[in-house]
Symmetry: C2
Subunit: 166 residues, 2 copies
C-alpha cells in the first residue's frame, strides 16, 4: 500500500512539474509579446486558425484547444472587436460561421510567430531529446483524450511542415 501511495505521489509530482513548465514557457512567451499588444492565447488562436485554413469554424477551433465552443466563441468575439478576425457566413449549414484573419490579424500572426523565446527554450534539447520529448507528448495526449471520452478525432498539429504559403 505504501509503495502504491509513493507511486501516486510520484505521478502527481510529474504532473505538477509538467504544469510548472507549461506556465513558465507561457510566461516567457507572454513577456516577449507584451510589446506587440497581443497575449499568447490570442497568438496561439491566430496560429490555429491559419493551420485549419478555410474550414476554421468556432467548433473546429475549440477542438484544437480542448475547450468548450462557447468559451472559444467569447474569445473570438473579443478578437473580432480588436480587429484581428472576422466572421464569414458562407457555409451551407445555417448559423455556422467561418473565422478568417483580417489584414491586421495577418500582421499580428506574422510578427507574433517570429519571436525568439520558443526556439531559444527548445534549443536546450538535442535532436534526440527533442524526438523523445515529442514522442512522450503524443503518447500522453492520446491517453488523456481517451480518458476525456471525446468521440471525434482531435486534430494533431503536424510537426514537420513547411510554412503555409499566402
Amino acid at each position: 500500500v505504501f509503495d502504491k501511495m509513493t507511486d501516486i505521489f510520484s505521478d502527481y509530482y510529474l504532473w505538477i512539474l509538467f504544469s510548472q513548465t507549461w506556465e513558465a514557457i507561457s510566461k516567457a512567451r507572454n513577456k516577449e509579446l507584451l510589446s506587440q499588444d497581443i497575449s499568447e492565447r490570442r497568438a496561439a488562436l491566430l496560429f490555429i486558425i491559419q493551420l485549419i485554413g478555410h474550414d476554421a469554424t468556432p467548433v473546429k477551433i475549440s477542438r484544437y484547444l480542448f475547450r468548450e465552443p462557447h468559451s472559444i466563441s467569447e474569445l473570438l468575439d473579443r478578437m473580432e472587436a480588436q480587429g484581428l478576425v472576422k466572421k464569414v457566413k458562407d457555409l451551407d449549414r445555417k448559423n455556422q460561421v467561418r473565422i478568417e484573419l483580417t489584414e491586421k490579424g495577418h500582421e499580428y500572426y506574422e510578427t507574433s510567430i517570429v519571436p525568439k523565446n520558443i526556439p531559444e527554450i527548445l534549443s536546450v534539447l538535442t535532436e534526440e531529446e527533442r524526438k523523445q520529448f515529442l514522442s512522450g507528448l503524443i503518447k500522453l495526449r492520446k491517453a488523456a483524450i481517451k480518458l476525456i471520452g471525446i468521440r471525434y478525432e482531435v486534430p494533431l498539429p503536424p510537426i514537420d511542415v513547411t510554412p503555409p504559403l499566402r
Copy 2:
C-alpha cells in the same frame, strides 16, 4: 531563410502540441474531480501548500505556479471562503500570512490526490520514456525560467519522495 522559417514553425508546432497535451490532461483531471466539488487548479494548490509545509506564504505559493502573488491571493481568498484553507498570522514580518489547510482542506487534498486519471495517463510511458520525458521537462523549465528573468530560485517539486507524514 526558408529553412529558418521552417524551424520556427516546427518549434511553434511543438509548443502548440505541448499546450494541447496540458489542456487534455487538465480536462481529464477536472472530469474526475467533478464529483468532488473541486477544480484541478484548487486541488493543485492544496498539493503545493502541503508540499511547502509550514512556510507556505502566498508569495512562495505563487512562485511554484509562476503567477503574480495578487492572482494567487484572490484564488486563496475564494478557497478560504470555501473553507479549504485558513490564514494564520504568526510570522515575524508584518502583513505576512501563512496558509494552512483546514480539516476540510485535508479531506479534499487526500481524496483529490488519490484518483486514477494522472497515473493512468502516465502509465502509457515506459520507465525509460518517463525518465526521458521528465529530463526534457526539467531542461525546458530551466530555460524558460532563465528567459523570464526571475532572480529568486524557483522550487522544483521533488520527484522521488515518500508521501509527507501527517
